[in-house]
Symmetry: C2
Subunit: 227 residues, 2 copies
């Protein structure tokens, strides 16, 4: 709770993107990467990349760049992604299906092992290799094993009930895609994912560009340079 | 480009969440809202809420709180969401379908009016009231009208080709859900959406909590207070 001041949110949100790029470079046999290369890929300033990377605690090697394997290790350690984290997903609709098909999760150690839904149309179906199970059978499906993270992809109206069930099953970390503010006991961490957040970013950049254009136009229209 | 330093990314990403809450309050007939109420809903500190809201330029009314209708207007104006923005979505798979079903977009003036795909399985299908059209017919489908924003929901391998097509059709704002860094001409704005960014946030909060627990445990284990 109240970690907004402590956590560097934009930097943390960028970490999987660095990781995605670095894992691709690793698979192509590249051994080192410069911050300039990463800045170009991320489309952000060099100084931002350097600050992001310094968060992981890796020591910079200005001349030769960073060792790809080492940087991957540091980013994974920073995020706590060195080991497998097992997860459960509730809601096998279109968003849930999209998340189950997201290839990068396995590289992050994030393993969605259980999928639940309440709809008879979905129960029993196979989604990317997982069988959708009845949410009412959740406790018995876990059988002593215990997912650490839950992903909620159900409707806004169903989300609180699902969260209550998950918390009752002992889950303490919830990645919530429903557009509701979940009420959970102290000690349970909810990361609310508002898909329109990215649209807001694009919207502000659009407005910014439009204003820039207007200012430019105004400057062009002073008449001073018009022949 | 290079706006990371200028834009308050976390605050902007939170704007749709405020808006979602305020629109709900509006529909319930509530006329005013306090920053405390918003802080509780957002699960962030009061000072962060006040800073976020001050970004919109609204003048605070400490005693009575904010006027709900006015705050909605200010947030919409801040994001440039006062008027309808027409959009095209490419890729009618599970993620594209999830986005087409996202109810809040209409309240933000964000109107996805065209949907394209290249797969014969999908072309002609109805998705939440839009007919999926063949991407090869894109130019003729626009017929003089012009979407301002494009949403890319195709595979990583297809994304660059799709982006090229969209740019050639005159689109300057791209919301990209494919996990690739798109190459676009100067003047085209790409907002890359990395779904794992939220997972990274949850992961860091998880690590943070675990470390806190360990520290707490260590403190408990000094033996000084053990009877």
């Amino acid at each position: 709770m109240h970690q907004e001041k402590i956590l560097n949110t934009p930097a943390i949100r960028r970490m999987p993107t660095y990781l995605h790029k670095l894992l691709k470079m690793q698979s192509e046999g590249k051994v080192s990467v410069s911050s300039t290369e990463l800045a170009e890929y991320m489309n952000i300033e060099l100084i931002v990349v350097r600050k992001d990377i310094s968060l992981t605690g890796i020591s910079g090697q200005r001349r030769v760049g960073y060792d790809v394997n080492e940087l991957i290790r540091y980013i994974k350690a920073y995020l706590g992604w060195e080991e497998k984290i097992s997860a459960v997903l509730v809601g096998a609709g279109s968003l849930g299906t999209a998340l189950l098909g997201y290839n990068d999760f396995e590289h992050y150690g994030f393993s969605i092992e259980w999928v639940f839904d309440s709809s008879p149309d979905k129960i029993g179906r196979d989604v990317y290799g997982r069988t959708v199970q009845d949410i009412n059978d959740m406790e018995s499906c876990f059988k002593g094993q215990h997912p650490e993270i839950a992903v909620i992809c159900v409707s806004n109206t169903a989300a609180q009930k699902v969260a209550d069930k998950l918390v009752a099953a002992g889950i303490r970390y919830i990645w919530n895609f429903a557009n509701v503010s979940l009420q959970v006991p102290r000690g349970v961490v909810v990361q609310r994912e508002v898909i329109a957040g990215g649209l807001a970013m694009l919207a502000v950049r659009r407005k910014f560009e439009k204003n820039m254009c207007c200012e430019q136009k105004d400057a062009d229209n002073t008449g001073e340079n018009i022949p």
